[in-house]
C-alpha cells in the first residue's frame, strides 16, 4: 500500500515536469516548480514511513523553507524589480 502511494507521487512529479517542459509561459513553469516542491515533501514523509528513518522529516522541513525562498525570489524577478530592492 505504502509502495503504491510512493509510485503514485512519483508519477505526479512527472505530470509537473510535463508542465515545466511544455508550459507556454514562464509563470506556468514557476507554478509547476512550486507544486513539485510541495510534492517532494509528501515523498519524504512516505519514505520516512517506508524505511523507518526519521531524519527524513528534517529534510522535509528544510525543503519547505528552501522551496519557499526559491519561489519568492523568482516571483520578485517576475514583477520586474531587482533582487536587492
Amino acid at each position: 500500500m505504502i509502495d503504491l502511494f510512493l509510485y503514485l507521487l512519483i508519477a505526479m512529479s512527472f505530470l509537473c515536469f510535463y508542465r515545466v517542459v511544455f508550459g507556454p509561459t514562464m509563470a506556468d513553469r514557476m507554478v509547476a516548480i512550486d507544486i513539485f516542491g510541495i510534492l517532494v515533501v509528501g515523498i519524504c514523509v512516505i519514505l520516512a514511513i517506508r524505511t523507518g528513518r526519521m531524519f527524513l522529516i528534517d529534510i522535509a522541513i528544510a525543503w519547505i523553507i528552501l522551496s519557499f525562498i526559491g519561489t519568492i525570489t523568482l516571483a520578485k524577478y517576475l514583477t520586474g524589480k531587482k533582487l536587492d530592492e
Partner: protein, 107 residues
C-alpha cells in the same frame, strides 16, 4: 491507530492527484494556481497529519505537526507572490474572464 493514519494518507494522495490533474487541464496560470495551492497543500498537510497519528507525541511526530502550519503559510504566501508577479509581468487572463477590477488599480 495505524488504519486511521492510513486513511488520512490515502485522502492526501488522492487530493494531490486532483491537484496535478488540474495543473494539466486548466487553461491559464491563474486557474492553475487555484487548483495547485488548494488541493496539493491540503493533500500534503493530510499526509503529514497521518504521519503524526502513526508516531504519536514523540520527537518525529511533533516535527510533522509543526511542519503543517509552516507548509501552510509558505504555500499561501508563495501563491500570492506568484499570482501578483504574473499579473505585473503582463500575462493575459483567460478568454472567458468575466470581470477585472484590478486593471483600474494599476496606474
Amino acid at each position: 491507530m495505524n488504519s486511521i493514519s492510513m486513511i488520512f494518507i490515502t485522502i492526501g494522495v488522492i487530493f494531490d492527484l486532483f491537484g496535478c490533474i488540474g495543473l494539466i487541464r486548466l487553461p491559464d496560470v491563474y486557474n492553475r494556481l487555484q487548483s495547485a495551492t488548494k488541493s496539493v497543500t491540503l493533500g500534503t498537510c493530510s499526509i503529514l497529519f497521518g504521519f503524526f497519528l502513526r508516531n504519536g507525541f514523540g520527537s518525529s511526530g511533533l516535527k510533522a505537526l509543526i511542519a503543517i502550519p509552516l507548509l501552510f503559510f509558505a504555500s499561501t504566501v508563495a501563491a500570492h507572490a506568484l499570482i501578483r508577479g504574473s499579473y505585473k509581468f503582463g500575462i493575459k487572463l483567460y478568454d472567458k474572464t468575466v470581470v477585472d477590477h484590478y486593471k483600474d488599480a494599476q496606474k
